[in-house]
């Protein structure tokens, strides 16, 4: 570190750290690192572990749904008599697992991996920066995220267990529940929101300020654009949830009634609070974050996919400018669609009409992006590498997720489908075989840059085909169940309702598919850790790619580039006529 390194107003407690060159101890180099690459890897590994943990919760829940009332085999005894007496899951415990599955997957798994992990590691390399603009804030944002994650995990072991009011935490339920899990959830969320605030400020400043010479905005790789828009969403959409979290915490801890209406009766007893609050207020504040959050999940995924498709089709992306404008428009529109989650609340037809209109409008930029990526494949001689397989699967999977969202965006059809398994199928197609596949693609694609070794292709293909088939058997039947009227969040899998009788056998299909999907992740885990040690050595540009990160050594040292990078052209100059190689990197000078 140099003496002129940035000290932000927040970073002053680290201000006395000695400014050594090189020779950092293990703790400073790998644990409390200021290097964006190490922080990115920390985020990525923590995020992957949380994804595995959140998925494990769901595999346990799926047993309960497939075989309600049966003792959970093998692991049933570890949950304790309070949660699963004799291995049979109690409804309260099912609710805890459900609430935490959603929370962990979204806030602790996907976002930290997509933004904290890939954004941190790849973005500064792609813009030719030596590091993030505020390295200390960057470290702080990881550790604040880590504290949030630990708070959430610890709440499982507290008396009464963790939060059990769904990842949406709708009041009054979340406030009147007798156990304290919700308090831990709220405190954890405040940590996570603070972390993403620090991260997003850092990302935007880095992209605006630290672009290499010659790297104008329209020469940015699409991944960087996606991260830029995502950061604005995190910056502006998360604070209202922080406000809502503070208000709910006040309701739980200080006895206020922001979200509790007057005259509320719980179990036959009137609640002794002042009242006068409004439960719908929470929903508005929550979805004001949580809808932009959907695009926080999907935009980095689209960015990753764009890089991989351009690289493996050996063609420029079709419609780069359209992609950029669509992403910016998407980001803007995502702030004015939130109430399409609330058609059932009776907020009135005028408001519903407004949000239906904006919801239909926001589908246009998504379709533009998907179409541009699809047309990029046209006439290409595609290299079917593992990252490309995941990227190709992303297109139809995200397509299904997006198109099934249209009936949910229109109030008349939403009233039938609301809170059914159809909704679960819809958003999981966007996030699981959509975003998470894109994240896998990104892991396979940038692994050589992070480690200097490639991941194994055979194991990668087993991982891909197994996951691709299994995941469709998990989510496709949910559309059938949902259209048949099966409600979500039922711990007995819907048995108690007669109209579900013909749909229950799908629970077994979904369960088996979910456990198969779990088994299919084993090759990935083996591949990931094995390749660090035994993977084929990769040079600095193993995929013959064009963007700046591939001009740095693999793995890049502290400060990233050996010489100051200069950019001469756009990001995707593949197969330029008249050139000997089929790729012309951004950093290659123009030949006279």
């Amino acid at each position: 570190m140099d003496s002129t390194v940035t000290h932000s107003a927040h970073g002053h407690e680290h201000g006395d750290v000695a400014h050594h060159h090189e020779e950092l101890g293990f703790l400073r180099k790998y644990v409390f690192s200021l290097d964006h690459k190490i922080i990115g890897i920390q985020y990525a590994i923590t995020g992957l572990l949380f994804l595995l943990f959140g998925f494990t919760l769901m595999m346990v829940m799926r047993f309960q749904l497939a075989y309600p009332g049966h003792p959970i085999p093998l692991i049933g005894s570890i949950f304790g008599a309070a949660n699963a007496p004799n291995g049979v899951m109690l409804p309260e415990f099912y609710n805890q697992l459900g609430a935490m599955h959603g929370t962990i997957m979204v806030f602790l798994g996907v976002v930290p991996l997509a933004v904290g992990g890939f954004g941190n590691f790849v973005m500064p390399l792609q813009i030719g920066a030596p590091d993030m603009a505020f390295p200390k804030l960057n470290m702080m944002s990881y550790w604040v995220y880590f504290c949030g994650g630990m708070t959430m995990l610890a709440s499982f072991f507290m008396p009464g267990g963790t939060a059990q009011s769904g990842w949406t935490s709708y009041p009054p339920l979340s406030i009147v529940v007798a156990t304290n899990g919700q308090v831990y959830w709220l405190v954890g969320m405040i940590f996570l929101i603070t972390s993403s605030l620090l991260g997003s400020v850092n990302f935007i400043v880095t992209i605006v300020q630290l672009r290499a010479k010659g790297l104008s905005y329209m020469r940015l790789p699409f991944f960087v654009w996606a991260q830029l828009v995502t950061s604005f969403l995190l910056l502006l959409a998360f604070p209202p949830l922080e406000a809502a979290g503070i208000l709910q915490l006040m309701d739980r801890v200080a006895g206020t009634s922001f979200f509790l209406p007057s005259g509320l009766v719980i179990s036959g007893k009137p609640l002794t609070v002042a009242g006068g609050g409004n439960p719908l207020l929470w929903q508005h504040l929550f979805w004001f974050l949580a809808h932009p959050e959907v695009y926080v999940l999907i935009l980095p995924a689209m960015g990753i996919i764009s890089e991989i498709i351009a690289n493996n089709t050996r063609k420029p992306l079709w419609g780069y400018k359209a992609l950029v404008y669509a992403a910016v428009f998407l980001g803007f529109m995502s702030f004015i669609v939130w109430a399409h989650h609330m058609f059932m609340t009776g907020m009135g037809t005028t408001i519903s009409a407004f949000f239906q209109t904006t919801t239909m409008i926001i589908s246009i930029p998504s379709v533009i992006i998907l179409t541009a990526l699809l047309l990029s494949l046209w006439g290409a001689s595609i290299r079917f590498t593992t990252p490309m397989l995941f990227a190709l699967a992303f297109l139809p999977m995200f397509g299904i997720g997006g198109l099934t969202g249209l009936p949910l965006g229109l109030a008349p059809s939403d009233i039938h489908l609301h809170d059914t398994y159809y909704v679960i199928g819809h958003f999981h197609y966007v996030v699981a075989p959509g975003t998470i596949f894109a994240l896998f693609a990104g892991v396979y694609y940038w692994f050589p840059k992070a480690t200097g070794r490639k991941m194994n292709e055979t194991l990668g293909k087993i991982h891909f085909w197994g996951s691709f088939i299994a995941i469709n058997f998990v989510f496709m039947p949910m559309f059938i169940q949902g259209l048949g009227g099966m409600n979500r969040r039922m711990y007995d899998g819907g048995m108690q309702y007669a109209h579900n009788a013909g749909l229950l056998h799908w629970n077994i299909v979904i369960g088996v598919a979910a456990w198969t999907l779990g088994i299919c992740q084993i090759p990935f885990i083996l591949n990931f850790f094995g390749s660090i040690k035994w993977g084929a050595l990769a040079d600095k540009n193993p995929w013959d790619a064009t963007t700046l990160e591939w001009s740095a050594p693999s793995p890049p040292g502290h400060g990233n580039f050996l010489t100051e990078p200069v950019v001469y052209r756009g990001p995707y100059e593949y197969s330029v006529p008249g050139h000997a190689a089929d790729f012309t990197p951004q950093f290659e000078p123009e030949r006279a």
Binding site: T4, P130, V205, V208, Q209, L236, G276
Partner: protein, 194 residues
């Protein structure tokens, strides 16, 4: 390794890193307080009757004047540093922090009076939003005091090494401080007068 544009502005954006950073941070703060003000509006519109005259307008008005003065002293501190007068600059930072402390002392008396009468946040929706908004604002005041104490204390060493960077830090702190002041200028009429 050196991160560019930590002190001098980047030509095409016209900003140094820290200045862009603090403006973005303030944008998110606007959203945070915006959500709470929206909550206030929604609760008030939905209420059968809204209490008036519950708060001590005089104390609130005095606090408003104090905060506005502290904004002025903050700008003077920055101006003195720009004119290379470190001693005066530091003095005005301390004056700003002291004014902020006086604000908090007044706030303490107000809080104590309400709690003494049993008017805690649980008492009614009005007091719930009053304590939440002013409490969060108070936390921002405390944050400002901590930063000013750092700048006038251990952080002042930077002046010898890199006066421009130190001056910039005071400027960024000032931007934050004006924002905190501005929030109060909205809070005062909304809670005390309307």
């Amino acid at each position: 390794m050196e991160i560019p544009y930590t002190v001098e502005p980047r030509p095409d954006s016209g900003l140094a890193n820290g200045k862009l950073g603090i403006w973005l941070f303030l944008a998110s703060e606007v959203m945070l307080f915006g959500a709470l003000f929206s909550t206030y509006i929604l609760l008030r519109v939905g209420a059968v009757e809204w209490p008036h005259g519950e708060l001590n307008v005089w104390l609130g008005a005095v606090n408003t004047v104090i905060l506005i003065c502290s904004s002025v002293t903050m700008v003077v501190a920055w101006a003195k540093l720009k004119m290379n007068d470190f001693a005066k600059g530091r003095l005005y930072i301390i004056v700003t922090a002291v004014l902020a402390l006086v604000f908090l002392v007044n706030k303490y008396f107000e809080y104590a009076e309400h709690f003494g009468k049993g008017e805690g946040p649980w008492h009614s929706t009005f007091f719930a939003i009053y304590f939440t908004l002013t409490g969060l604002h108070g936390l921002h005041i405390i944050g400002g005091i901590v930063v000013m104490a750092y700048l006038a204390g251990p952080g002042a060493k930077l002046w010898k090494r890199n006066p421009d960077q130190f001056t910039n830090r005071v400027e960024y702190t000032g931007l934050y401080w004006h924002f905190v002041d501005l929030v109060w200028i909205f809070l005062f009429p909304v809670l005390y007068l309307l």
